[in-house]
């Protein structure tokens, strides 16, 4: 979709960035030592740190990805919210206090506190870098996706802007400024999401949502018909003799069930569907055709806002309210959800078809769906396996929920935040504040996502824009604020990840593993150089991975973090026979096996290599169910094989 840049959004965005940078420079004066740079001197108030936890955690994927997934697939997006939050229970009850007790700057410190092993430092540092970079890519891609509608710039400009601002933030004051950026952003996100939710409930639900004073385009769905008869469809569509309606059954169209309509020299595609009662329906679609010569056609016309040009219609609405009402008026919390459950909504699916002349068509078609189904699991293609009898779909879902549960307490940029407070009690209290803030926000995501689903404002091509476009459907000022917050969301998360990476490079790799002697001043200087390098890598990857799905990459980061880091952390805390060799080998095994599994999965075959996903080597895409236990088993076996000999034996 083409977005009109919003002047107000630019002003508000500029204001928030200016405040953030001002805060960074001001706080920079307070962080001259290594402890100040990496761990904010250990003097952050627990409440600030708790909200900053929320700022760190509610990344672009959480805010934009979950709202978008709920808006397009319903309840399945909320499953991510639940899994992401549940991970904090592992962090609070198992990891937080021991980690604070054992470490100084990085989570490698904690792992290595008992053994002082260079192997552990190396493994933990590499794992931190790998997870951080995987987590950085979707944040940068998210930045690019946001900047286009916000300021009207291309994707790479957005990535460059975020990268440059973040490098400035990190280099000026390290963890102190990053913490306050996260505090600011976490607070704003929760406050304005609450405002947005209240406005959604006040607005209620309507079968004809209005955007910018215009009604939503009502896509035609013709039927039911007892048979798939062209004459019947022609008559229903009131076509004249010059118009042509033909079934498409050549090449890639064979299995897709489309009819092509040529009317007034304009081509459109109609999707044929059959329900369980053998009744046929014909649905109006919208499509994008990317021609080999680089031109783009939308719904039969060049894409644009001028005369003779067109653009995608915004989508997302309720087709039937209970009692065939047209609108509900203001609704309460449970009333909003129960009304959606009793309604019928229009969700959207898509098909991609490559024509013989090289043109690629992406067709978006409406799917009338009952509210009961929308508010139940199994609508998203990646979760659909739980509705089928075959076991691999179910294992894939179990594996994802396990990775979400175990991944949070293994993310380096979350773990280092335990060193910014002064003691274990503060670590505990800040985690409780974090859980409260994050849990509250995740409850709001259900209302934001469903609000977007019924707002008539969705961009059918980009689910990440659901939350900002929902805000726009309520008011330009809200769109401006939410877009600016979404942008600072990316800024904050990227800052934390770059700090974690620079800590791993300087403290774990250079100082501990390579044994390079550095004083505090030198450490901070090298860390700032490392931050610039990691920032530049993130910018480059953010531009290269433009077309990748943001949630897909975040799933990678969670799985790799849980497989590599969690077994080592947990066993070190609770199994006295753990050895340094066991920890080192388990980290490498978890990291390599989860990466390998991901690269050999059906998702990678389809998304990265463009191969047939049915030929994938591993049976399901999410690695956690296999690679997390593998990490534990490896650690146990290697530790048992490398037990120190009893003193009597040695003598």
């Amino acid at each position: 979709m083409i977005y009109e840049p919003s002047f107000m959004a630019v002003i508000i965005f500029g204001g928030i960035v200016a405040i953030t940078l001002g805060l960074s420079f001001w706080l920079g004066a307070k962080a001259k030592s290594a402890k100040g740079y990496f761990a904010a001197g250990g003097g952050i108030h627990w409440f600030v740190n708790g909200v900053a936890f929320a700022g760190d955690y509610l990344s672009a994927a959480s805010f934009l990805g979950i709202c978008g997934m709920i808006a397009f697939y319903g309840y399945d997006g909320f499953l991510y919210s639940i899994g992401y939050l549940a991970g904090w229970i592992v962090a609070l009850f198992v990891i937080a206090e021991p980690l604070k007790r054992m470490g100084r700057f990085t989570f490698a410190d904690a792992l290595d506190s008992k053994f002082q092993s260079r192997g552990i430092k190396l493994a933990a540092a590499i794992s931190t870098l790998v997870v951080s970079i995987f987590y950085l890519i979707p944040q940068m891609v998210g930045a690019g996706a946001l900047i286009t509608p916000l300021l009207g710039f291309p994707h790479y400009v957005g990535v460059l802007m975020v990268g440059t601002i973040v490098i400035l933030i990190v280099v000026t004051a390290g963890m102190v400024s990053t913490t306050y950026v996260q505090f600011l952003k976490g607070s704003l996100l929760v406050i304005f999401s609450t405002v947005l939710t209240v406005l959604i409930l006040q607005r209620g639900l309507s079968t004809d949502p209005v955007n910018d004073g215009k009604s939503t385009h009502q896509f035609q769905i013709i039927g039911p018909a007892a048979s798939n008869d062209i004459k019947h469809w022609k008559s229903e569509l009131k076509l004249n003799e010059k118009d042509r309606l033909i079934p498409l059954d050549q090449g890639e169209w064979t299995t897709k069930d489309y009819l092509q309509l040529t009317k007034d020299d304009k081509i459109s595609y109609w999707k044929l569907t059959e329900n369980a009662d053998k009744q046929f329906f014909l649905s109006e679609t919208q499509y994008k055709q990317n021609n080999k010569n680089g031109s783009t056609i939308i719904n039969g016309l060049p894409q644009g806002t001028g005369e003779g040009e067109t653009d995608f219609y915004p989508v997302g609405r309720i087709s039937k309210l209970p009692g065939d009402e047209k609108e509900t008026g203001p609704l309460g919390i449970t009333e909003f959800l129960s009304t959606i459950r009793e309604s019928e909504l229009i969700l959207w699916g898509s098909d991609t078809i490559k024509e013989k002349d090289g043109a690629v068509l992406t067709i978006y078609f409406p799917k009338p769906t009952s509210g009961k189904k929308v508010l139940s699991p199994g609508n998203h293609p990646k979760f659909a396996g739980i509705r089928r009898d075959e076991i691999y779909g179910k294992l894939n879902f179990l594996s994802l929920m396990l990775a979400l549960f175990c991944g949070t307490a293994s993310l380096p940029h979350i773990l280092i935040r335990y060193y910014t407070v002064k003691d274990q009690a503060s670590a505990r209290k800040s985690t409780i504040v974090g859980i409260g803030t994050i849990g509250y926000f995740y409850i709001l995501t259900l209302f934001l996502g469903l609000g977007a689903m019924t707002s008539g404002s969705l961009d059918v091509t980009n689910s990440n824009m659901a939350a900002p476009l929902l805000a726009k459907s309520i008011g330009d000022w809200l769109f401006a604020v939410i877009s600016a917050i979404a942008f600072t969301t990316v800024l904050g998360t990227v800052s934390g990840l770059i700090i974690a990476s620079s800590g791993a490079v300087v403290h774990d790799l250079m100082s501990s593993f390579m044994k390079i002697e550095m004083n505090d001043f030198a450490k901070v200087r090298v860390a700032k150089i490392a931050s610039v390098v990691v920032g530049v890598i993130a910018i480059v990857l953010g531009i290269l991975f433009e077309k990748f799905n943001v949630n897909y990459l975040v799933g990678w980061a969670f799985s790799v973090a849980a497989s590599a880091n969690l077994p080592a952390l947990v066993m070190l805390l609770f199994w006295p026979k753990t050895t340094k060799q066991g920890i080192t080998v388990a980290i490498f095994t978890g990291m390599i096996s989860s990466l390998t599994w991901i690269l050999l999965s059906a998702d990678s075959y389809k998304g990265i290599y463009g191969l047939n996903p049915d030929h994938a080597i591993v049976p399901f895409s999410q690695p956690g169910l296999v690679t997390i236990p593998l990490g534990f088993i490896t650690l146990i076996i290697v530790s048992l094989l490398t037990q120190p000999k009893p003193e009597g034996m040695e003598s």
């Binding site: 639940i82 102190v176 179990l398 009690a425 503060s426 849990g439």
Partner: protein
């Protein structure tokens, strides 16, 4: 940000082994409670997704209600943990009269 300033990094807390042991044991017990709740939710979704469609409260289905319970339970258990760990085990014997957090 009065009251939330970037302050001293001197720990208020001087943990002893009894406190560490008490906190660890309590953490593991509460973790087990939540794991059972979360495990039940994941297994129901995986092996009996149709059950999640059953309306259980105020027109809301089990999927929504169980999801909200999981989010609220995380916060409630966190508060319980924070409350039970607020005092040092040996606080009555310590020279400072306890390091209440």
């Amino acid at each position: 940000m009065a009251g939330f300033d970037h302050g001293s990094n001197e720990p208020d807390e001087q943990e002893n082994n009894e406190t560490i042991s008490r906190n660890t044991s309590l953490g593991l017990k509460l973790f087990t409670v939540y794991l059972a709740l979360y495990g039940g939710f994941v297994f129901l979704n995986t092996f009996s997704p149709a059950k999640m469609e059953v309306v259980v409260f105020a027109g809301l289905n089990l999927a929504i209600v169980y999801g909200f319970i999981l989010i609220l339970a995380a916060f409630v258990l966190a508060l319980i943990y924070g409350w039970l760990c607020r005092n040092d085990v040996a606080s009555t014997n310590s020279k400072n009269g306890g390091a209440a957090q």
